[in-house]
């Protein structure tokens, strides 16, 4: 069985390529290249740090020189001033940078991405000015006399230092690749693009962002520490904004988010820096313009471009190897599918498990929900219908925790959900889809669906790196493939979501919920955009889930489908509950027809007496007011 997150983790070939370059090239070129190679290793480590923060977790830092400076000065202070050993000093350099990152993260990770970039920019520029002002760190002179790395009774020479640094860098590459292909890495790549999806799958995005930031900064700090060791002196002027540009170039030109790309980029940058000294003042011009050109022309970077070109030469296995597991049902056979699902299920009994009471939500004066009440029984399929703008999606967002209501309560299986953060609701069995399918377009179908297993797969960062998570992932990948197979998506499992049709996107998102075997499933516009065959599949799966005890709430505009599938239906209009009852009752209700179907019922007749009065249906309001509260923490 292949691994869950990629058929064959990319990067192994590149790792071999880098290793070969490192251990063959500079020794062959002669000892002059040792120091260049050592510099390259330091750049590579810092670039990996930035790639973890930016490429994987989506938060660019423009203050990497701050973390490098902290790492370098930590080593300098600890060895020169305190007389500790170099090894201990390097550990300190990692910790100092990571702690600084946590502090910056505490300040800025709750801000919009762009403000975070500003905060890191300020941080990176501030650190050298502090070092410049402090007597303790030697002001502008800095600190010198940092010992080398001892090996027995002598210090490592330049060649040995080069080999050691690249050894460390390569270990870093391997560990970072393991992070990338772990469940934690997957969750980072998802929230980098779409925070709501990650939260709805149970990812505590705030904590994970901090983690990614601290880990990336820690590696960057280590790069700084090793720089101090290799140069034996540190001074504030070294840590200028140029470091940021060089690292941005390494990451973007090499291939953001690939880990190996930035390492290749760092090697290229080191060589370019060597030759650019001949350009005089034009180094910045070449780097600056070259960077912008790379951003525009090869946004995927060197590594991804090579992969794409190589991939284009090979025929696409996934497209041809598997026939679709479920043959597309054409229109002629579709009615048959309808006929079989026309058997009415027994109405679910039992006490309501999902209770919504008096929920109101107001968006800057626009009333989206006003005193909405709803009760759903275990195993019930509950339809929510109403015209556009009726508040259906807002109601679902309130239940799933992406929006906090101004007033009212939501309880699920006796637990008060109202103020619970969205990610925590996933552990109570809640899963949802979105009105427009929310998938990360540059991840494969399989990877997107795999995030649904976030709650059940061991997801710790450390476990992902050193543990046997891969074995567990292999076992659970059966689950993913089985679900994809059931939904007729097995043949596109390895395609990126940017290549899918709308219906396939919708089913993929449904699959992400299915793999979790949810207790409460919320489907927003469950079937819109699906063809007849896909609708039949969906209906079938929803029924199976409900029979197995899952409670389902679905928003859908296909009234025929709602009438057939749903045990009960609630009609919303302008944020209030207009009517509630079985599908048959509802679609014969005159006020529903008036608001939703332009005054005509399903058979084109009009003017049937309302069975229920909207006023009487609404539940009592609870005067709970939550204002301006943050959704996720």
């Amino acid at each position: 069985m292949t691994s869950l997150l990629a058929r064959r983790p990319r990067g192994i070939g590149w790792l071999a390529f880098i290793t070969a370059l490192v251990f063959v090239l500079p020794p062959a070129l002669g000892s002059d290249w040792d120091s260049v190679g050592t510099q390259a290793a330091i750049w590579a480590m810092a670039a990996i740090g930035l790639d973890l923060m930016w490429g994987l977790a989506g938060h660019a830092s423009l203050g990497q020189q701050g973390f490098i400076a902290l790492g370098a000065y930590a080593v300098a202070v600890v060895t020169v001033k305190w007389g500790w050993g170099v090894q201990a000093a390097l550990v300190v350099s990692v910790l100092v940078a990571a702690v600084a990152a946590l502090a910056i993260g505490w300040i800025a990770l709750r801000l919009k991405e762009i403000y975070l970039a500003l905060a890191t920019l300020g941080f990176g520029l501030m650190i050298p000015t502090i070092l410049l002002a402090l007597e303790y760190t030697g002001k502008a002179t800095g600190l010198y006399g940092i010992p080398g790395i001892p090996a027995g009774d002598h210090m490592l020479n330049a060649r040995q230092l080069y080999l050691l640094f690249w050894g460390i860098a390569l270990v870093m590459v391997v560990l970072s690749l393991r992070v990338r292909y772990s469940m934690t890495g997957l969750s980072w790549r998802v929230f980098a693009h779409n925070q709501d999806v990650a939260e709805s799958c149970g990812v505590n995005t705030v904590r994970e962002k901090r983690k990614a930031f601290a880990v990336g900064a820690g590696l960057t700090g280590l790069a700084g520490g090793l720089y101090a060791v290799s140069s034996s002196a540190v001074s504030p002027a070294t840590f200028s904004l140029h470091i940021v540009l060089i690292l941005l170039v390494a990451v973007v030109v090499g291939g953001k988010g690939t880990i190996v790309g930035p390492v290749v980029g760092a090697m290229g940058v080191s060589v370019a820096l060597l030759y650019s000294s001949k350009l005089g003042g034009l180094t910045d011009v070449v780097f600056g313009l070259g960077f912008v050109l790379a951003l525009k022309v090869v946004p995927g970077g060197f590594v991804q471009t090579v992969q794409r070109v190589a991939g284009g030469l090979r025929p696409r296995r996934q497209d041809t190897a598997h026939a679709p597991a479920v043959a597309p049902v054409d229109e002629a056979t579709a009615p048959a599918a309808h006929a079989t699902d026309h058997v009415r299920r027994a109405a679910p009994t039992g006490d309501p498990v999902l209770t919504i009471q008096g929920v109101s939500k107001n968006f800057r004066g626009v009333i989206a929900l006003s005193d909405v009440g709803l009760e759903v029984r275990p195993g019930e399929i509950h339809g929510i219908v109403g015209p556009n703008g009726a508040g259906k999606s807002t109601l679902l967002a309130v239940v799933s925790g992406l929006i906090h209501p101004d007033a009212g309560h939501v309880t699920w299986k006796g637990q008060e959900l109202t103020r619970m953060p969205a990610w925590r609701r996933a552990s109570t069995g809640l899963a949802r889809t979105f009105q427009t399918p929310q998938l990360v377009t540059d991840l494969t179908v399989r990877e997107n669906v795999a995030l649904g297993l976030y709650m059940s797969v061991g997801k710790g960062l450390v476990r992902g790196v050193v543990g046997r998570e891969r074995a567990r992932l292999n076992a659970t990948s059966e689950t993913v493939l089985a679900v994809l197979d059931r939904l007729g998506l097995a043949h596109i499992a390895e395609l990126e979501c940017s290549e899918l049709s709308f219906g396939q996107l919708r089913l993929t998102e449904f699959a992400r919920c299915l793999v979790r075997e949810p207790g409460l499933l919320l489907l927003d516009e469950a079937a819109s955009g699906l063809d007849q065959a896909e609708k039949a599949l969906l209906v079938d799966e929803v029924r199976k889930l409900a029979d197995a005890g899952t409670t389902v709430c679905l928003i859908e505009h296909d009234t025929d489908l709602v009438a057939r599938v749903c045990d009960n239906v609630t009609v919303l209009d302008a944020g209030v509950v207009l009517a509630r009852g079985t599908g048959d009752e509802i679609f014969r209700n005159a006020s529903v027809q008036a608001s939703y179907m332009g005054g005509r019922d399903l058979n084109g007749r009009s003017g049937i007496t309302p069975t229920a009065d909207a006023e009487a249906m609404a539940l009592d309001a609870h005067d709970l007011v939550v204002e301006g509260e943050r959704v996720a923490d």
Partner: protein, 288 residues
Amino acid sequence: MYQQALISGIALGVAYGIMGLGFTLIYRSTRVLNLAHGAVVMGVALTLTRWNIGNPVVRVLAGVALGVVGMAVVHLVFMRPFSGALPITRLSALVGAMFAAGGIAQKVFGTESYILKPLAEGHFTMPLLGGRASTHEMISLVGVLVVVVALSVFFARSLPGKSLRAIADDEAGARLVGIRTEFALLGGSMLAGGLAGLAAVIVAPQVGVSFLSGFDWTLVAVTTAVVGGITSEWGALAGGLVVGIAQGIMLVKAPQWFLTIEFGILILILAFRPEGLFGGEPAVEGAR
């Protein structure tokens, strides 16, 4: 002592305010943090030191014209090609622009620092406050106030101003109602460029200019804009005064912390009042 610190702080603050103003102007229409703003100010200031124009009015006009052209180039080369990209990509492209400009300036003007001729010679003693101010600083203060008033009227009343606000809110929507967004955005950038040119003739006589000034001034503009609340004209001016006065005091009390205080203010504001001291759009994610 402190009166002098206050006066030189206000003088700095006025110059900072006009930089922040140009910076917020581009943010308001494009949602891009224009990290090349300081570079344009630097480019204008360095060019003017070469041209050596005697008449101050002509110098101001030349500065404004240079700024307009410079920012148009930045817009066409570093902003428009990335108009559909992620915010962070757009920001990165401007990092590239900032360095490219610094590199070109170093090649053309070398590493020396130049002082631009002030708008007027002479000093006088401030009434009430005591302490000495230069005529240049007074003219600048009045000039900047006029510009801020004009800009608030422009955004509140005029059609082009409203168009820019509409684009900031919803670019596709603005296009649908018939606003030629590409044209309008270029116009917005050129307006910001004019302000950058104005900033150059104000600030370069006070603190001098070298190829490194672009970085410093971009950071000044960023800090000023964040302190003031990134979408407000008066906020930008007030933010400039806060940063300028803080630095003025530092110059007197502890000059080695002169730069640290600026970055410290930036981080503290982002930490505790990310929407700025004087209101502005919320900078916090997820609050719905």
